[in-house]
Symmetry: none
C-alpha cells in the first residue's frame, strides 16, 4: 500500500542559456524512473502562484493552504516542538542585542541575531520561570538565535504588528493592534508586557554578564514577528485514515508535519544542507515504509543552492541525489507508489521561489506509462499526467492503490 | 447547433501488460474520429476522485456534483419515474422475505430479494391504496425486486438509518435518527410506521398466498436504504436555454436525466447490457438531433464488462460499438458538435470505477485539430485539449458552436 513521496525542495529551474541544473545533470536513475512511470508537470498551489515551502507542502499533503495556512508563526512554533492548539497565537523570535536607557521600547537594536548566539537554552528556561503574563505562553528554542513563542488565551487575535524593527540602529517596536477586534488590542498589550519582562530577565542573566565580559553581544531582547493564529487542522489520519511520516531536517517542514499530525523523523546526519547524509535519509524512508502508509521524504539542499544562485552546485547535488535514488529500484511497485517531485522551483537566476511548474513522476505497476524517458523541466510536460495540481497528487496515488472511495454510485 | 455527447460508460482502463481493451481493439471508426477532432484526457470530477456514474453524468451535464448530488436515493427514485421534488426524502427499496412472529422489527430477513420477484405491480398498488401515513408518500417499481419511495412533508431530514440489515438471518432494522434534527426523528417514526403497515398489507396479499402455495418466498417486506434529500436542481433548459435529451436504458442515468429535466428516451431493444440494440440507440440519437439541442447517448455495456473483469469481452463490445459509430460520419460537423468520451474508467483489473482520466474527442469543423490519430488511453493525452474536467466539457462545445455568452465586455 504505501506511498513514498520524495520532495526535492526547489529542484526545478528556469533556463539559463536553454539549460537547467536538472536538464544538464547526469542522472541515469531519475531518468530510469521517468521511463518507468507516468510523467507530468505540477503547480503545487496554482499556475503563477509562487509557493512557500510550507504552503506547497500543505498542498502536497492534500491540505488546501488557503484554508489551513495561517502564516509562518504557527508552523515554525510546531516545528520547534511546541504543541500548538487551535486559537493559539504564534510568533517567530530572534534573540537580539539592544542598547540604551529606559524601557525596552526606548532601546535600539544593535544586533538582530545577538552575535548568532547558539546556546539559548538557559535563557529560555529563565524566561519560562520568571516571566508571568495574564495568559499562558509557551516558548521553545529553534536553530541558532531563533525561537518561537505561543500565547494561549481566550479570543486573542493575531492581527497585531511585529516588535522586530527588521534593521539595526532602530528602536524596538511596540506591538500594536492592526484591527478593531478587542482580542488584537489585548494581545498587543500582552506582547508588550512580555517584551519588557523578558528583557529584564535576559539583561540580568548570568550568561549575558559572561558574554559582556567576553566582549560578545548580550542576547538581551527577543524580537517577535509573523503572528499567526493556529486554525483547526484535522490530522492526516483523521482525514484519510492513513499514517503519515515526514522525514526532514528542516524546521519549517517539521512544522508542517507536526501540524497535520505526522510522525516527524530527522535521521542522524540529516542537516537540511548539501552535506546532509542522504544515505541515512533514504534508509529512514525505507524503514518508514514498513510502519507508515504515506512517507514524505524531504530533501532540502537543492533549494538552498537555488537561493545561492549556484547552478553548478545544484547540478552536482542532483547528481549525488541521483546515486542515492537508485536504492529505490528494489521497491515492489505492485504495492508501493513512488512519487518524485519538487515543492516549487528555485531558479538560480532568480535566487528565490517561482511558480514555474515542477516535474512529477509517479511510478506504480498500474500507471499508464508514457513516452517520457528523461526527468527534466523540458520533458515532463509531454507525459501522460499533463498538468496537475499539488492538491491532486495524493488523491491520484490513493486511486492507483485502490484505497480511494467512490463518490456516488 | 446540436451537441451529440456519446458517453461510453466505464470505457477506459488501466494497462494489463501495457495494453487496454480500448488500445488493442480494432476500431477504425473511433480512430478516424480522433484524427478528425481535438483530443485530450478528462477528469470527470477531479484528478484522483473516483466517480460514480451518477456524479460523473451530473458533471458532464454541467452540474457540480458537490452541489447537486444528494445520494443515490433521489436519483434512483427519479429513474423509476417518481417526480421527485426539492425537500423530498427518497430511499431505494428491495422487496424481501421475512419470517417470524410479532411486528416487522421482530422478524428475520430470510431472502433480501424475495426470490428475485419480478411482478411487484399489484403489491405496490396495494401499498398505495391501503397504507396511510402522516405524510404523503410515492412508491414506484424498479427492475426486478427493486423499487423506490419518496416521503413528502415539511422539514423532513434525510439523516436517518437504513431498515435493510444487508444480510440474511438478521432482524429487520428500525429506522433511527442520525442527527438531533426534529425532522430526522419525525421521519424515522414515519418510516417505521410505513415498514409495519406495508408488511401487514404485503403479508396478507393474495399474490403472496399464491407464492407461498407454490413454495416461493413471500415478498412480504420492504427494506429501505440510501436516504437522500432532493436538492433544488434548476433544469437544463433553465440554466442553458437548451433542450436536453438523454438516451439510456440504465435506471441511474435515467434518474440523472429526469433530475435535470431532460427528455429521457429508452429505445425499444436498448437493454443496458452487451446485447443491447446499438442500432436502435444510434437511430434514436440521430432522431433527437432534430428535436433537441444537446443529446446524451449513454452506452452501458463497457462498464459491466469492466466490473466483470472481462478484458476480451470489453474489447469485443468496443469493436461492435465502433461499427455503429461509423453511422455518425454523415453528420454535418459545421453544425453539429460530436463528443465521444466516458464517464469514468472501469479497469478490468480493478472491477470497479477508478479515477484514471478518460479519453475525450471533440469533433467539429472549428476545432484546432491535433496530431492524435488513435483513440486510446495512451494517445489521448497528447492531444490539443491536454487535461480538462467534466464540468468544462459542454462549455467547450457551446463555445465552439458560438452560443456561449461572453463573461465581461
Amino acid at each position: 500500500m504505501p506511498v513514498l513521496l520524495v520532495v526535492v525542495d526547489g529542484l526545478s529551474d528556469r533556463p539559463v542559456d536553454g539549460k537547467t541544473p536538472l536538464s544538464v545533470a547526469n542522472k541515469p536513475n531519475f531518468d530510469r524512473l521517468a521511463e518507468m512511470g507516468i510523467n507530468g508537470i505540477m503547480d503545487t498551489i496554482a499556475p503563477g502562484i509562487r509557493p512557500g515551502s510550507d504552503t506547497s507542502h500543505l498542498a502536497l499533503l492534500g491540505y488546501d493552504p488557503y484554508r489551513y495556512y495561517s502564516g509562518r508563526g504557527p508552523i515554525e512554533a510546531a516545528g520547534v516542538g511546541i504543541e500548538v492548539k487551535p486559537g493559539d497565537i504564534a510568533f517567530r523570535i530572534n534573540f537580539a542585542t539592544v542598547e540604551g536607557e529606559g524601557k525596552i521600547f526606548d532601546k535600539v537594536v544593535v544586533d538582530r541575531r545577538a552575535g548568532r548566539i547558539e546556546n539559548t537554552e538557559e535563557l529560555i528556561e529563565a524566561i519560562r520561570n520568571k516571566v508571568r503574563l495574564p495568559v499562558e505562553f509557551l516558548i521553545e528554542k529553534g536553530t541558532g538565535h531563533r525561537a518561537a513563542i505561543v500565547f494561549r488565551g481566550e479570543n486573542l487575535s493575531e492581527k497585531v504588528s511585529d516588535t522586530d524593527p527588521k534593521a539595526v540602529g532602530k528602536k524596538v517596536k511596540k506591538c500594536t493592534a492592526l484591527s478593531e477586534e478587542e482580542g488584537a488590542k489585548r494581545l498587543a498589550e500582552i506582547v508588550n508586557e512580555f517584551m519588557q519582562k523578558a528583557h529584564e530577565v535576559l539583561d540580568e542573566h548570568p550568561l549575558n554578564k559572561e558574554r559582556a565580559d567576553k566582549g560578545l553581544p548580550k542576547a538581551n531582547a527577543l524580537l517577535l514577528r509573523g503572528a499567526g493564529k493556529m486554525p483547526h487542522v484535522p490530522s492526516f489520519e483523521e482525514r484519510f485514515g492513513l499514517k503519515l511520516c515526514v522525514i526532514t531536517a528542516t524546521a519549517l517542514i517539521k512544522g508542517v508535519g507536526k501540524i497535520v499530525g505526522a510522525d516527524v523523523v530527522t535521521p542522524e546526519g540529516a542537516t537540511g544542507n548539501k552535506n546532509t547524509d542522504l544515505e541515512a535519509k533514504f534508509r529512514a524512508a525505507k524503514n518508514a515504509l514498513k510502519s507508515h502508509d504515506v512517507i514524505l521524504l524531504h530533501i532540502k539542499a537543492t533549494d538552498e543552492l537555488g537561493h545561492d544562485g549556484d547552478f553548478d552546485g545544484k547540478r552536482k547535488f542532483i547528481e549525488k541525489l541521483d546515486e542515492r535514488i537508485s536504492t529505490l529500484f528494489d521497491l515492489n511497485f505492485s504495492e508501493t507508489c513512488l512519487i518524485v517531485t519538487a515543492d516549487h522551483s528555485t531558479p538560480v537566476k532568480v535566487k528565490d521561489h517561482t511558480a514555474d511548474p515542477v516535474p512529477v513522476i509517479i511510478v506504480h505497476e498500474d500507471v499508464r506509462r508514457d513516452e517520457v524517458e528523461s526527468f527534466s523541466e523540458f520533458e515532463a510536460y509531454k507525459g501522460g499526467l499533463c498538468r496537475i495540481r499539488g492538491m491532486d497528487l495524493l488523491n491520484i496515488a490513493f486511486d492507483l492503490l485502490n484505497i480511494a472511495k467512490k463518490f456516488g454510485a
